[in-house]
């Protein structure tokens, strides 16, 4: 099973668990599995159209899935997936 690392700000939605195992074989299915098991995560990961929010990045190893196959990126048993919140802002 692949491992997914939950970032600190979202751990309150995963019972304070930092690492979870997922059975899914693609990133899209991983997100489905995750939001099914932890419904409160959904609004933090997905927009109203069900797409990954623009302020959320998903990495496989050190690679952004946007530079791989997005949701179709294959997940293997030894894959480490990280949810990486975008940290940004400005003064007005």
């Amino acid at each position: 099973m692949a491992t997914i690392i939950i970032p600190t700000p979202l751990r309150k939605f995963t019972n304070n668990t930092a690492r979870l195992n997922v059975q899914a074989d693609t990133i899209a299915k991983t997100v489905d599995e995750l939001t099914l098991n932890f419904p409160d995560l959904k609004k933090h990961l997905l927009d109203d159209n069900g797409n990954i929010r623009s302020f959320v990045n998903i990495f496989v190893g050190n690679d952004d899935i946007r530079n791989l196959e997005n949701g179709d990126t294959v997940v293997k048993a030894d894959t480490v997936i990280s949810i990486v919140p975008a940290i940004a802002g400005g003064n007005f």
Binding site: T8, L10, K12, F55, I87, G89, G90, F92
Partner: protein, 141 residues
């Protein structure tokens, strides 16, 4: 309540002044007690990678974020938030800050006006995705 230790406060002030007129940014680490009181014991500076006008925007790269999480795990401390500066603007989160904000994190904002450090205030998202100010205690130095 959030408490900034002296060295943290000094670093944030120094970075805000030295980065002026651009925005500075970094991560905040420490611990939270059972009453929800956060003690920030360490701040780490991060490069503002925003493409474009850094005087009014900041952005932290995903790789720096991943490194920040790894550091917290290695050091057995909690990643509790982010600081950034508002050059020539008050230490109040903007709509842009709110849109990108993450739950749980404390967002410390320092105002810096013409290289003079101003107020340091801390904000956290509530369940309605609105910022609420945290009772912010600065240790004098």
């Amino acid at each position: 309540m959030i408490v900034l230790e002296t060295d943290v406060q000094k670093l944030i002030v120094q970075e805000a002044v030295e980065s002026y007129p651009n925005e500075c940014c970094g991560f905040l680490y420490g611990n939270e007690d059972s009453n929800g009181r956060r003690i920030i014991t360490l701040a780490r500076v991060v490069t503002n990678v925003k493409d474009g006008d850094k005087r009014r925007r900041f952005e932290i790269s995903p790789h720096d974020y991943l490194e920040a999480e790894r550091y917290a795990e290695e050091q057995q401390i909690e990643l509790l938030g982010v600081y950034h500066s508002h050059p020539d603007h008050p230490a109040i989160p903007s709509e842009h800050d709110r849109a990108a904000a993450q739950p749980f994190f404390s967002y410390i904002i320092i105002s810096v006006n013409n290289k003079e450090p101003g107020a340091i205030r801390s904000w956290r998202l509530n369940d309605d995705w609105q910022f609420e100010e945290e009772n912010n205690h600065l240790i004098a130095y």
